[in-house]
Amino acid sequence: MKLFIHNFLQELFYALTGAILIFTFLEIISPGMVLAYFNLNYLLLFWPIIGIIVVL
């Protein structure tokens, strides 16, 4: 079970990394495209927490 959660969080971390990169790229090419609907700060807060849990 512990291994399952670890692997899942690791995959989540990779997916969140990709999401941050994609959303940031979209926001750069067209300001407001993402921020109008979704606050990237939540992602930026959640992503390192997942990363820390994975490392620990």
Binding site: L3, F4, G32, M33, L35, A36
Partner: protein, 471 residues
């Protein structure tokens, strides 16, 4: 954990991220060409900005109260649209009867295209006077029913003095009986600051005006000047004078248009507040400034203007210009800078005696340097300053529709052409106007806005692609 399960989870998570990105792009492109945004003041919105300025607006639970006129909000759009339908849910319990919504059309002239949301004068009259409805949604409200249809009214108009209009353009011929052109050139040492418009009149003569103006260069922006001349049919002439940083600050421009039919013409001098028109020269004797004029510093200190305005306002940004202004037998006391002081005139026309320069005068009529050159071809507008009985208005023609009632709230809709509106960084500026409402005065009642909804429509992606590929 089996490798297959891991791959499924990986695919699911990445698909979710890509689908989210796809959704953001879809909402940006708006392939259907139609999208709606709603702002109900519960939480900050991205597309519809909050109402400003802060000193005229009070946020309350689920609504915003407007204490002073006007209030502004912005509309951010994801891409270009052609039309905006704005629906406002509001409650107006003040004594001020006319509520309007406008979109900024010209940033230099600061002109808004205003559309009605509510006109209590028309609403109340429609309850007690007979109403004839037109096929196009317009209404004729008559004191005594004499016309069965609007078409009959338009083909057999009563005297113009008996007609009032609201949100309606009625083409009518305005000719002066005793006008005769004079050869001598009139020179107005006016010192008008910024943009202004005026009416003039010609009969068997060229329409010609010459403007000497100064560029104060107080701000670093470009200071171009645009002159536009309108007949009753529309724009007939335009001239652009570009800003030239290398040239002298004193500049001149003029126009001369021959072979025009007799009648009233409107001249619009579009410039920002860095431009001061020192003198205006013309053979035309009729010269009436429309609605607003900023008499700048310099030139004649004491001067007299005449106006047919029913409500007159004065303001100054110069502390040296504070003081009393005689308006007929009454006084407007300018006690503070940047604050507008208003007065209802007892009779019209009225003489306005200015002892100091740098005053901004505004009103619902026109201003002239002599009573004889007062020229206002417009029919009376039905607003809070017009006394229907005193002015002997017997007919009101309007395209305005009363707002719908939703409990204690009203809901009104206004359509705007976005292709003609001014936009900056994909944002449009809107204004909510309730003339008479002042934040610094105690007002009976209040104006509350509960919701603003904007329906945008434009070219769909398919049409755009078809147009691009030339099918």
């Amino acid at each position: 954990m089996p490798k297959r399960v891991l791959i499924i989870i990986r695919i699911f998570l990445w698909l979710a991220a890509v689908m989210a990105a796809g959704w953001f792009m879809y909402m940006k492109i708006v392939p259907s060409g139609k999208i709606s945004y709603t702002y109900n003041f519960d939480q900050p919105g991205y597309f519809i900005g909050k109402l400003t300025p802060a000193d005229r607006v009070v946020a309350a639970r689920g609504e915003t109260q407007i204490k002073g006129d006007p209030a502004y909000f912005s509309l951010a759009v994801p891409r270009r649209f052609e039309k905006a339908r704005v629906t406002v849910k509001f409650k107006n319990t003040t004594d001020f009867p006319v509520l309007e919504l406008g979109i900024l059309n010209d940033k230099v002239a600061w002109s808004y295209d205003l559309k009605p949301l509510q006109n209590k004068v028309v609403d109340q009259l429609a309850l007690v006077w007979p109403v004839v409805n037109g096929a196009d949604g317009s209404r004729l409200i008559q004191r005594d029913k004499k016309y069965d249809t609007i078409e009959k009214f338009l083909s057999n108009l009563p005297p113009y003095q008996e007609i009032g209009l609201y949100d309606y353009k009625l083409d009518h011929e305005f000719l002066l009986d005793k006008y005769a052109p004079t050869p001598e050139i009139k020179i107005y040492n006016c010192n008008f600051r910024g943009a202004y418009q005026f009416y003039t009149y010609i009969k068997n003569e060229d329409l010609n005006y010459s403007f000497d103006f100064n560029d104060l260069n107080l701000n670093a922006d470009n200071d171009p000047v645009d002159i536009k001349v309108y007949s009753a049919a529309g724009l007939i002439y335009t001239r652009h004078v570009a800003d030239d940083a290398a040239a002298d600050s004193e500049r001149q421009t003029s126009f001369k248009i021959p072979n025009l039919p007799e009648g009233v013409y409107r001249v619009s001098f579009v410039a920002n507040d860095d431009i001061v028109s020192k003198t205006i020269s013309s053979q035309q004797s009729q010269f009436s400034l429309i609605n607003k004029v900023w008499l700048g510093e310099g030139g004649e200190t004491a001067r007299v203007l005449y106006s047919n305005s029913r409500l007159l306002s004065a303001q100054t940004i110069n502390p040296a210009s504070l003081g009393k202004i005689e308006v007929g037998q009454e006084i407007i006391d300018l006690k503070e800078t940047y604050r507008q002081f208003s007065l209802k005139t007892a009779s019209q026309p009225v003489a306005i005696k200015l002892a100091k320069p740098d005053i901004i005068l505004s009103g619902d009529g026109v201003f002239a340097f002599s009573e004889q050159s007062l020229l206002d071809p417009r029919l009376k507008n039905i607003d809070g300053n017009l006394d229907i009985n005193q002015e002997q208005i017997n007919y009101i023609l309007t395209a305005y529709q009363s707002p719908a009632v939703d409990g204690e709230w009203y809901e009104a809709t206004a359509d705007f052409d976005l292709t003609k509106a001014y936009q900056e960084k994909s944002k449009y500026q809107f204004l909510i106007s309730l003339p008479g409402l002042k934040a610094e005065e105690a007002n009976a009642g209040m104006l509350a806005i509960k919701e603003i909804k904007v329906d945008l429509s434009g070219t769909s992606l398919i049409k755009k692609l078809k147009k691009y590929f030339g099918r």
